[in-house]
Symmetry: C2
Subunit: 294 residues, 2 copies
Amino acid sequence: MGEKVAFIGLGVMGFPMAGHLVKAGHEVTVYNRNAAKAEAWVQKFGGRKADTPAAAAKGNKFVMSCVGNDDDLRSVILGAAGAFAGMDKGATLVDHTTASADVARELAADAEKKGLGFLDAPVSGGQAGAENGVLTVMVGGKETTYGPAEPVIKAYARMCKLLGPAGSGQLTKMVNQICIAGTVQGLSEGLALARATGLDIASVVEVISKGAAQSWQMENRYKTMLESKFDFGFAVDWMRKDLGICLNEARRAGVTLPVTALVDQFYAEVQQMGGSRWDTSSLIARLEAKKTKQ
Amino acid sequence: MGEKVAFIGLGVMGFPMAGHLVKAGHEVTVYNRNAAKAEAWVQKFGGRKADTPAAAAKGNKFVMSCVGNDDDLRSVILGAAGAFAGMDKGATLVDHTTASADVARELAADAEKKGLGFLDAPVSGGQAGAENGVLTVMVGGKETTYGPAEPVIKAYARMCKLLGPAGSGQLTKMVNQICIAGTVQGLSEGLALARATGLDIASVVEVISKGAAQSWQMENRYKTMLESKFDFGFAVDWMRKDLGICLNEARRAGVTLPVTALVDQFYAEVQQMGGSRWDTSSLIARLEAKKTKQ
C-alpha cells in the first residue's frame, strides 16, 4: 500500500534509499540542495522533485531526510523553506542523518509543538547497505510515531528498531561507532605485528576468528587491509564527524572515551595522509606508513 | 590408539588438559612444582606422577608443558632435572605456555641439537575451554614434528593448526591478544556511554551486533560487563603478562601498538583496583569506577 513520501538529501546514501521507496510502491517527491542530482534521481526512478524542502514536504504523510550534519539538518528542517514549514499536521519526519542527540531532541520538541511526528533514525550498513536496501536503522522517538513509519522505513532496511525516546537512535549509532573505533585499531595493530613478523596472516585469521578475538571487522576487512584497498566503505571524513559527536556527547555525560579519542586523532592523521575518502579500515595504513618513511 | 605422554604443569589449564589425555586413552605421567596438585590429579584421573620434569618426560613419546612464563618454562625444560634431559631421542615437546617467540625459537634450536622435536603451541579458550576440551591451539614448528603430535593435542582442542616455523604459535597468540585488547576497550567505552545516557542496552546490542560493530566480546561479554561480573574467564594478571610479551615483540619488530600499550596501562589500573583475578572484560569497571568516586 503506497504512501506519499518525501525524501530530502540525495547523497550516496539518500539517492538509493529514495529509489527503494519508489520500488516499494510509494509516491515519492525529492529535494536536494544540488538540483542536478534531484533531476538525475527523477530520470532514474520517476517521482517528482521540488525546489525547497518545504515544497517537497507538503502533502506527504512521511518526510525522510538524510543530510551531512547538525547544521545541514537544521537548514533543511527549520525556517520558512524548511520541511517543518511545509508538512501537514500529523505528518512524520524521519531523519536518517547521523547527528547529535541534542539536535534530535531539539527537533522532536519543535515537531511536537507543531503537531508533527519526529524520529531520529540514523543508519548503518554504508553505501552498499543503502544500495541493496539492507540498512540497519536505529530509531529514537515515540512508539505511536514509530509504528506507522516502520513499514515505510523497511523499504531500505533489513533491521529497524525503536530504541527509546528522541535521541536514542543517535546515541545507539554513537555506541556502534565507538565499538568500531576500538576494534579496527586493535585489528590494525594485530595485523601490523603479524605482517612485520612474517606470519601467514590468512591462517592466523582462520584460527583466531574462531574465538574471543573474532569481530565483523576481522572477518570482513582483514584482506582489504592487507591489500591497502580503502576505496570503498565508510569514509574517514564521516567517521571523524561521527567520533566528534561521540566525544561531545561523552563530555556532556561525564564519560571518558580514551581509546575513541585517540583513534579520532589517528583518523586525523589518515586525513593528513590524503585518506579523507578512504574506508575506516585505513587505520592500518597510518600504522604501517610510519615504518616505510625515510 | 594410546600414546605415552607426559604433562608438566597442572594449573587451571594443565590440570583438565592432562585429564583429557587420559580420557582419550593415552598413558599419562604428570609433573607439577607443587606435588600435592599432582597427587590430586592422579587421584582424579589415574596415571602416574613423577618428582622432576626429567623423570616425567623419560620414556614418553610426547611431553606437553603448560606453565606460567618464559622463566618458568626454562626452569622445567632446561637443566639436569628439566624435561629435555629426560626425553628419549625422537620424542617431541609440545609447549602450551603463552611465552615469547624468542624462548620458543631458543628451545626449538636446543631441541634440534638434542635430536628432539619442539612445538610452541599456546592455546586460547580459557579455563572453560580447557575443562571442556575445546581449546584453540596455535602451533609453530616443523611439519614433520607437527603431524604425529596433532592427534594427541586434539584430546583437548577443537581447533589446532600449524602456522609456520618455531615461534609462529606464540606470534599468533599475540595477534589474538592485541585484537582482544582493542575490542574490549572499545566495547567498554561504548557500553559506558550507553549506560550513562540511559539507553536500553540489550536492545542496542541486539541492533548493533548485526553489523560492523559486532564482536565475540560484544556477544559474549556485554551482559556480564553490565553486571560487573568478572569472577571467571581470563585473568587480568595473565592478560598483562601476554600484553607485555606483545609489546616486547613489537619493540623488536619496529611496530607501534599505541592502543595495546594504553590498554596494558588500563589493566594495570584494574590491578590497582584489586582486579588482578578479574576477567579481561573488567576494563569497563575501570572506566566507570572513576565516575562513582567521591
